[in-house]
Amino acid sequence: EAGVTQSPTHLIKTRGQQVTLRCSPISGHTSVYWYQQALGLGLQFLLWYDEGEERNRGNFPPRFSGRQFPNYSSELNVNALELEDSALYLCASTPGLGTRGEAQYFGPGTRLTVL
């Protein structure tokens, strides 16, 4: 069974540009989570989608947004890139709402560098 996949692997952008990151969850999983892993800040929650709807978002500005498609894949969009957006962006998936103690399965991440 394929795990969570993310694309691209690496990305280099300049300040002010926009970027789109993509994630495909494990087959059968309907929930997708996005996390930012910036140097020195650890893993911080960005967004959670389930069944096409945004369920929760972390403490990030509105220029971080995303969506989930009918096939449960997801995109993370970041507008007006800033230097501090440089980080590893991780996507995770779970079977969906409701199961107590459910583990999240992570993708390999997309490394974004903003120059």
């Binding site: 795990g3 929930s31 989570y33 996390y35 800040l41 650890g42 893993l43 911080q44 929650f45 959670w48 389930d50 369920r55 929760n56 972390g58 991780l90 995770a92 779970t94 709402l97 107590r100 103690g101 459910e102 583990a103 999240q104 399965y105 992570f106 993708g107 390999p108 991440g109």
Partner: protein, 111 residues
């Protein structure tokens, strides 16, 4: 506020020595707690979760609600245990399904 604290950035032990990676949490409800591990050049993966009370690769962790702790232990460390370890809390219930992570502890097991 919901928070996970891992007080040690780096823990270095010799092979065969006991290991304890500390994790304390702050959460008013009934938490779900996890340990995730990231080996070099690999993705973040689940090591264990408190709800299943399992032992994986010789590691165990007990939830202590009185001390709000979920320390990870292994009686005899192996070199292949060297990795980054993250404690995580799921604020399950309501609208929050995301994980809250500690900043991680890098475990280095020396030969």
């Amino acid at each position: 506020a919901q928070r996970v604290t891992q007080p040690e950035k780096l823990l270095s032990v010799f092979k065969g020595a006991p290991v304890e990676l500390k994790c304390n949490y702050s959460y008013s409800g009934s938490p779900e707690l996890f340990w995730y591990v990231q080996y070099s050049r690999q993705r973040l993966q689940l090591l264990l979760r408190h709800i299943s009370r399992e032992s994986i690769k010789g590691f165990t962790a007990d939830l202590n609600k009185g001390e709000t702790s979920f320390h990870l232990k292994k009686p005899f460390a192996q070199e292949e245990d060297s990795a980054m370890y993250y404690c995580a809390l799921s604020a399950h219930g309501g609208s929050q399904g995301n994980l809250i992570f500690g900043k991680g502890t890098k475990l280095s097991v020396k030969p």
